[in-house]
Amino acid sequence: MSILKVSKLTKSFGGLTAVSNVNIDIKSGELVGLIGPNGAGKTTVFNLLTGIYAPDSGNIVLTKGDNEISLQGLKPYAICKSGLARTFQNIRLFKELSVLDNVRISMHKNVQYSLLSGMLHLKSYTQEEKRLFDQSVELLKIFKLDHKMNEQAKNLPYGEQRHLEIIRALATDPVLLLLDEPAAGMNPAETAQLTETIAWIRKNFNLTILLIEHDMALVMKICERIYVLDYGMVIANGTPSEIKANKRVIEAYLGEDVENA
């Protein structure tokens, strides 16, 4: 059952066509990779999916249960509310805020109490705050960050900051999770750990995951299907072994990396 259907997605900046006629079809529960050389347009695709840019043309449809939601043209917060969450390539944590707050804020869209209740600390406030706190701690426990919940996010080591990025996205209760280079800057041990974590998250949170990555070991190991982007166009789409053997892909960028992965 399709969860995300992207058709003929196109975006130009001035004279430069960053994304051209991209078609992506993701089934519910899949773990799909999006790879391509630097500048191929992968993050632009993410930005289009999450509403940071509006596409010039094309459709993005998210299927949640029985509902089909058209995402193109929606603002980022509306897209998040529809069930699509993302992490950022360059980590955009709320640096001065605590780890706990970073998670709690991401749960805000589902908070039940009104502005008035928030200002007067009525009963609904007290109850919801407890729920928020408990749920945030549960999430943090998964990544063993609960004991650091009052730390400022900026004080976390890099690897834990990346984990917090992911926790934050999970906290928004998505059906589809977009991970933008989650392993960037990680050493092989951390990457291996992350690979397991992503697989675990997918299973335990019943998620569909679309992942941009440069680390071929991670991509080939964990992704069930891979889309390859080059100069803004999809040049190949298939299973890891199909991609490894695809001549166009090899030409475009993989080269020896694939054989050694």
């Binding site: 944590l93 709690r104 928030g118 705050e129």
Partner: protein, 323 residues
Amino acid sequence: MKNEIKMNRIKKLVALLLAFGVVQLLVSVGILNDYIMATVSTIGINIILAVSLNLITGFTGQFSLGHAGFMSIGAYTCAIITLRNPTTSGFVAGVFAGALMAALVGFVVGLPTLRLRGDYLAIATLGMAEIIRIVFLNLDITNGAAGLSNIPEFTNWMWLFIFTSGTVLIVTNFINSSHGRACISIREDEIAADAMGINSTRYKVTAFVIGAFFAGIAGALYASRFYVLKPDAFGFLKSIDILVIVVLGGLGSISGSIIAAILLAIITSYLQSFPEIRMVIYSVTLIVIMLFRPQGLMGSEELSKSMFKKWGRLLNRKDGGVA
């Protein structure tokens, strides 16, 4: 956990009643004379102004240079109502009408302008406050440049205390709620906040409107205390006055705003006969704080028991070192 919350609330209530009672006693007995009470009123009004501006600029990160405009709307609205209805109920109606008018203008102005970033927003809010001032300068109902006078005085210690502590409590509560945290996340990283499902425009406007509301209350209290209103009293300089309090106290610290309001009111009362020197000191204060301690007195932290403990330990260190 529930009992702890209840205990905290009772403690807060008792502290408030005590604070109110002590001062009320001193006033009734005559120890606190008119001059001191005028300063106390200024402090209270400035606390409300600073806390409400801090909500907009310190917590939500939206640089507003037109806060005095909201104050003037509250002041004139309340004055106009109490001049026609000089009763306590008229006063209370005037305060809330003033606050609501200010909030309304805040909404109308905020909606289109809060899309702007940093410096642009600052100039837009400055322009908005100037337009308000010029409008008041030219309306009949506000009596133009001559302003309004003989405004019935209803702002006594009780009302001042109620509104000031009310403002502080409500804004503090708001900051500690999920809605408040949403506002803070916008200050931290607006794009990330949007990506996490927070409608940043909506919350920027919300903070702006709430800030305007309380500035309106402050204006109304001002009108009903100092009984004379002129449009020029609410110009750019007044907005700067409020900004200095917020910056000195610390953008993002409620207790900082309170401390700074008290400090600056005391300093101002000494410099009353030297307005230019006061402005020179204010301007140098701004520059020095920004160059050497941009987080102000409190940074974005609040006064807390752990802070006193830390200072106590620092002062008691036998080796005289600073941690």
